[in-house]
Amino acid sequence: MSDWFSAASAKINSVVEGIVAALMLSLVLDVWLGVVDRYYFHWQLPWPEVLARYLMIWAALLAVSSGIARRDHIGLTAFIMILPVGLRRTLLVAMDVLALALFLYVAFFGISFAESGAPRQAMIFGASLAPFYAAIPVAAALSSVQLVLVLFRDLGSHIDEPPFATEVEETL
């Protein structure tokens, strides 16, 4: 069963990471365009600065779910590591449930937040703010899904060996 959750989490995450990479690339190109425009083309484009902020928010918030899938999010572990394994895992599962509650809250209120952006102008492309505000409920919903999946995948065993540190060193 744990395998199924693991596979589902990884599958969703690989799609999300593809989208995130595309957003990051657009972000880089967008900021370059702003610089080149001001210095060379003199088109006086009104949108690169605004679009950069919205791309950054979409990319970073979507990546939050990716961080959940990979257990990247930073916490203090000194105290919980001295507790007996059974208690520790129970507490960590409880923390996952509470985190899930937090993201469900953000997703739920995020929907009306995104709706509140619909009648408001974003000042670029004649668009409303809704597609940009939608980053909040979409990212929170994705994070909630990932939290459920990794909760059952790990059942509190995930800080027995933190994954991220080793991976970084391998890249060198």
């Binding site: 990479a21 985190a99 953000v106 540190a165």
Partner: protein, 427 residues
């Protein structure tokens, strides 16, 4: 009170700090008035991140990723090695000096931590430094970034309090250099105990020259960035995107080692690291809104400031207050909320406005690396995978040294105002 208990309990039980901050904030909102205030959450998340200068962080992380991948970093490290390798802790000293140089490029400590966390920390680890120590050195040096101009925080302070920004910039130069020197002294003193590596023999002039030549492309990078800023081509935030452009250019056309697959992985990793840091900033927005609405920082300030009206006591209390609040709150929020409460007091005890400003900026910069809420710690922890608490322990001597420097400049007006006075910004 209940908010504080929830926050501490969640953090102790291993909940990621960003989520714990978020839940504490939500508990605060519910405590204030049932469900009435809950709608504020998504808006604080979005608007807390909707800030253009935040781009510097992901861009410097990405530039660091590329530099590592194509070998720019290792060439620079090799150069540092042949130049200072025979000194114990040579690379740690290099890290500190590099922060001074980098400070001229950026106004943000997190950009410094992001750039060095992806480049110098892994290089130091490879040379035999413990990772927590390498992170601590980087964190200690990162606050030189917003101390030596340009400085984002000084711009905010200057326009908020009506103090000359150029004057604050001038006042930051000396403390920035002193922080570097004192931290290098801390490295030197602790070098034996930390068992920092050193090379067995010095390099020959020939080796030095060859290494220098092979790292020219790398050395050109800061020159190009600085040229872009001072030449009026880019803002400090956009400069980070120039770093990405240059690293890509070298990777594709000079070293020809940057692959599409590699670049894809770098983009994803950059976004993930950014997401980890931004989720903390975002949720801190909810907690900060609750604190503002309940006027909690002002309450604390009023309570503490009734204690004395002696000049030095007031300065010490203000610094203490900033450092303590700085442990749990984002520094820009502190600046906006506490500066209007505290700065009039500094005027009552006769502090020069620029002097008061530099005390504020230094104290808040130091707060960037005090746990549990310290943006530089978060960046380093997520960029390197090192544990927050382990970095914090190794950071302790540096933290003490920097707080001592802060007090020295706070009590010794002539030193703090030497450069601003010379340039005519202060009497």
């Amino acid at each position: 009170m209940i908010v504080a208990i929830v926050f501490v309990a969640l953090i102790l039980f291993g909940m990621p700090i960003g989520f714990a901050i978020g839940l504490a904030g939500v508990v605060g909102l519910i405590d204030m008035g049932g469900t009435q205030f809950l709608a504020i959450g998504p808006s604080k998340i979005f608007n807390g991140l909707n800030i253009f200068p935040f781009l510097a962080m992901p861009f410097f992380i990405l530039a660091g990723e590329i530099m590592n991948d194509i070998g720019i970093t290792s060439r620079l490290v090799k150069l540092a090695q042949v130049l200072v390798g025979r000194f114990r802790g040579g690379l740690a000293h290099t890290n500190m000096l590099a922060s001074v140089f980098f400070a001229g490029l950026t106004g943000s400590a997190t950009a410094d931590a992001a750039a060095f966390g992806r480049t110098l920390v892994p290089a130091m680890v490879k040379e035999g430094y413990k990772r927590d120590y390498a992170c601590a050195v980087t964190a200690a040096g990162s606050i030189i970034g917003p101390t030596i101009p340009p400085s984002g925080l000084m711009v905010v302070y200057g326009s908020l309090m009506g103090v000359s920004i150029a004057g604050l910039f001038a006042a930051g130069v000396l403390p920035g250099l002193v922080i570097c020197i004192v931290c290098m002294a801390v490295i030197a003193i602790g070098g034996k105990r930390e068992n920092l590596p050193k090379a067995l023999r010095g390099a020959s002039p020939r080796e030095v020259w060859d290494t220098f030549v092979s790292s020219l492309t790398a050395l050109a990078m800061p020159v190009i960035i600085l040229g872009g800023i001072l030449g009026g081509i880019v803002t400090p935030t956009e400069a980070a995107s120039i770093a990405v452009a240059y690293a890509m250019f070298i990777g594709i056309f000079v070293y020809r080692s940057l692959t599409f697959k590699g670049f894809y992985a770098m983009l994803v990793r950059t976004a993930r690291i950014t997401g980890v840091i931004f989720v903390i900033i975002a949720f801190a927005g909810i907690l900060g809104w609750w604190m503002s609405f309940e006027r909690i920082p002002q309450l604390i300030a009023e309570t503490v400031l009734g204690l004395s009206d002696n000049r030095y006591a007031v300065i010490a209390i203000i610094i203490g207050l900033l450092l303590i609040v700085g442990m749990v709150m984002d520094i820009t929020a502190i600046l906006i909320i506490l500066a209007p409460v505290l700065v009039p007091l500094t005027q009552q005890v006769g502090l020069e406005p620029i002097h008061a400003g530099i005390i504020f900026v230094l104290a808040l910069n130091i707060s960037l690396m005090t746990p549990p809420v310290g943006a530089c710690l978060f960046v380093l922890s997520s960029v390197t995978g090192e544990k927050l608490e382990r970095i914090s322990i190794k950071l302790f001597p540096f933290l003490i040294a920097e707080i001592a420097i802060l007090f020295a400049f706070a009590f010794w007006e002539d030193a703090a105002l030497w450069l601003p006075r010379m340039l005519g910004f202060a009497q």
